[in-house]
């Protein structure tokens, strides 16, 4: 194993997995909430909010990274506040990489969850209501379980995409080995160095395999859950 995967590859792989999982875990509740707001809630500025959520899909990742640096950098308004109150430093840290990844993959997750929420039969919620379930109860006992296919699909997609996030990460948290040098950053570094061809090939293969495995897993999970729901 170690003959194929050296310390640098393992480091990058471990870091990518860590960054992607932290980003998914932290953004999933928010994605569910936003998907719910966009599908069910009626409020002023919903169209603007919708556009804002989807912005990372169309913005250059570097621009998103730069914006994060301005806002969450040590001297940025949020970054400064987080540091003085909680001692959390996002810029140039693994957590920062997770934040950049979360922002970039957020629209993907929201999209998948929204589709599944659209497919939830409102009639079932009405039935739950006549059986005595209040709004939060209905959401937890009926809506959320029925959204599960989309939540799982969204999470796996976001995870797979998050493994390879590049532009926003390198701009916001730079390229620090062991801290922020994820797979794609390591791949980029290897391509830049004169003797890095072999390493670059290995990293590219790992990225490819991970992405492919992620998509397969997403599909498999979706099938399992659909069968569980009898669809």
């Amino acid at each position: 194993m170690h003959e194929i995967l050296g310390a640098a590859e393992l480091d990058a792989l471990r870091l990518s997995l860590e960054v992607a999982s932290r980003s998914v875990v932290c953004s999933l509740p928010a994605a569910i909430l936003v998907a719910w707001l966009l599908t069910r809630a009626r409020f002023h500025g919903r169209v603007l909010f919708d556009a804002f959520v989807h912005l990372p899909l169309v913005l250059p990742p570097v621009a998103v990274g730069y914006l994060l640096l301005v806002l969450f950098g040590t001297r940025g308004p949020f970054g400064h506040w987080l540091y003085t109150h909680f001692g959390v430093e996002l810029a140039f840290s693994t957590n920062g990489a997770a934040l950049a990844t979360a922002v970039m993959t957020f629209p993907l997750m929201v999209r998948a969850i929204r589709i599944s929420l659209d497919n939830v039969d409102r009639g079932l919620e009405a039935a739950a209501r006549t059986l005595g379930a209040g709004p939060l109860d209905r959401f937890a006992s009926i809506t959320l379980p029925l959204m599960l296919p989309g939540i799982l699909a969204g999470a796996v997609m976001a995870f797979a995409a998050g493994l390879g996030e590049f532009g926003a990460v390198i701009t916001f948290v730079a390229n620090i080995p062991g801290q922020t040098r994820t797979l794609s950053l390591a791949l980029y570094t290897a391509i830049q160095s004169p003797a890095g061809d072999a390493l670059a090939t290995r990293l590219a293969i790992i990225s490819f395999a991970l992405g492919f495995a992620g998509l397969l897993l997403a599909e498999w999970l979706a099938r399992r859950v659909r069968r569980w729901l009898g669809r």
Partner: protein, 360 residues
Amino acid sequence: MLSVTLAKRRGTFALDVAFQAPTPGIVALFGRSGCGKTSVVEILAGLLEPDAADVRLDDLVLIDRHAGYALPAERRRIGYVFQDARLFPHLSVRGNLRYGEKRAPATAQAIGFDEVTALLALEPLLSRRPYTLSGGERQRVALGRALLSQPRLLLLDEPLASLDAPRRAEVLPYLEALRDRLSIPMVYVSHQFEEVLRLANHVVLMEHGRVVAAGGIHEVSLRPELTAIVGPDSVGAVLEGVISEFDSARGLAHLKVGSGTLIISATAARIGARARVQLLARDLILATHPAQGLSVRNSIAGVVTGIRDDDNEAKLVTVEVGGASVLARVTRDAVEALGLHVSCPVWVLVKAVSMRSHEI
């Protein structure tokens, strides 16, 4: 007493309904599809917001027009059995049944899990998932789920409409069992008069968002508004009585209605049981003299109390016999030839085999 007054406008459709029905008992909301029956029960359940409404069930105010007060659906404790069952796909049959039971107030436990599963024969289904059930089984589970939420009122919105005839025949006896064993008031929405005949004791006829007739089933069965809905072939007086005799060898039962007795063909009947028959207007024969030498088993003396146009070729004659009324559909020609007029004496002839009795 269930007392309902409500109004709701939806585009060009205006719902404007008022009726009262005795409780406990089954009140049928009967009318063609699209006449607003479902909207009425949705408003009763709290799933649809009325423009104006006043709904009272015994001492309980559900919606008060003047106080602008409406109990939220989840606190009304009104069970709702939907046409399409709406079982929760992610829960087993047991999970579905427990869903409402868990959320019912502890003080309101009137009917238990075991009782409901026994009444609806649900035991073998308990660990199954909804998608593995047949249509009839689904409706039984939906009924059980609604019952276990300990409802004060049960709304049944065409629970048999999505089922084929054999499945319908499978579920109907369960509905009859509920009516007979539980004292939960029910509102039963239907466009099948057969179901109304077998289940309801009070009928509200609806057309185009309005109540066109309401009352006991015998009374409503004589109304011209019913003819408009069910068509001339299904019109006929519904009579209620008590089985006084049953001869299984000859396949005949005697049904005592008012001061008279009807002989009906029956394969089974319980003496002393209350039963209902519908005398289809097209099956009745009127005679101005007592008939002799006919195969017909019932020849009952009565008095004509009304003659009205049914359609172009026929008239509906109302005849009072022994305290109840029946309807006979006869040609215009026959009315003239026999010289039928209000208050003239007639004999009503009914074949025993043309009637089917339903225990109530």
